[in-house]
């Protein structure tokens, strides 16, 4: 079935149609390719200096794909996005602050 599926009947207003099977499989293929790229980059010595930024970008891409399409935040109510991204931003902020404070990545 390639067409977007309707939301479960337990759904409510503000929750829209979800991606179809074809789109789910396409996302899985992209996730697999990104994972393979991550591992490949890890083994290329020439990219060692940029490894941190490349891996963070690839990881962020995978994260976004799963959250947007598999967890349906792209199609569901923005309220769900808010209750997820608000604490997540705080968590990311805590990690970045700790990393800078303890100079795991010396920025200053």
């Amino acid at each position: 079935m390639a067409h977007p599926t309707t939301h479960g009947q337990g759904g409510a207003h503000g929750e829209h149609s979800h991606p179809g099977v074809k789109q789910y499989v396409t996302i899985a293929a992209i996730l697999t390719i990104i994972t393979a790229l991550e591992v490949a980059v890890f083994y290329i010595p020439a990219l060692a200096s940029a490894l941190l930024y490349i891996l963070l970008a690839l990881s962020a891409g995978k994260f976004a794909l799963v959250v947007m399409y598999y967890m349906h935040l792209k199609h569901d109510s923005k309220i769900f996005s808010g209750v997820f991204f608000a604490p997540m931003s705080l968590a990311v902020g805590v990690v970045i602050a700790m990393v800078i404070l303890f100079k795991v990545i010396p920025l200053i």
């Binding site: 991606p19 099977v21 591992v39 990690v95």
Partner: protein
């Protein structure tokens, strides 16, 4: 009466217009990001601070962990296929994909058990050094979440097998899926920050 063929449950109006079960679960997932955020921050702070080995480069097996990462990613695909199946009232598809998701989750746990055992034999335990403490706590809590997810999926599978998980109950599978995908995204972050940026 075949529950799968039953009429959809009547929709209950809420102040937000959203399903309260789903909204509550998203809030729970939000709190979980803070929980794992603190564990990841702890790991990052202790990174490279161990005064004695084994160190990450001594014990990590990237090809093996890459395979287990792939297994967990594919389990997420199976989870959304299970949701699509239950939403269209396909009982056989629901049973198949729920079982496949739980099975792949169990395989991931098998990889993790092997890894932990291997690390133990290499001399790395929870009390060996800062790396051991922060690594086992972070990945151990993630593994515990996967275990809970597998049990949850099997409970849904049994419900589906008994004909008690039809289209009207799709939100149950959707919420279990949210949990499963969250466990997946936590691993995406762990794989990068812990394993690849060792």
């Amino acid at each position: 009466m075949d529950h799968a063929a039953a009429a959809p449950a009547p929709h209950h109006e809420t102040a937000t217009g959203l399903d309260t079960f789903k909204l509550g679960f998203w809030t729970f997932i939000g709190s979980e990001t803070l929980f794992f955020g603190s564990l990841i921050a702890t790991y990052m702070v202790y990174k490279g601070q161990s005064v004695r080995g084994p160190y990450p480069s001594d014990v990590f097996d990237i090809p093996l962990t890459s395979i287990s990462t792939f297994v967990l990613l594919m389990s997420s695909l199976m989870m959304v296929l299970a949701l699509a199946a239950v939403q269209r009232g396909d009982r056989k598809g629901t049973l198949t994909w729920l079982l496949a998701t739980a099975g792949f989750g169990a395989i991931f746990l098998g990889f993790q058990s092997y890894e932990f055992t291997h690390f133990y034999h290499e001399g790395l335990t929870l009390g060996t050094n800062l790396f051991g403490s922060s690594f086992f706590v972070l990945t151990g809590f993630h593994g515990a979440h996967v275990t809970i997810g597998v049990i949850w999926l099997m409970a849904l599978w049994v419900q589906a097998l008994r004909g008690k998980l039809g289209q009207a109950d799709a939100v149950k599978v959707e919420v279990a899926g949210l949990y499963w995908h969250f466990v997946d995204i936590v691993w995406i972050v762990i794989f990068t920050l812990v394993y690849l940026l060792e």
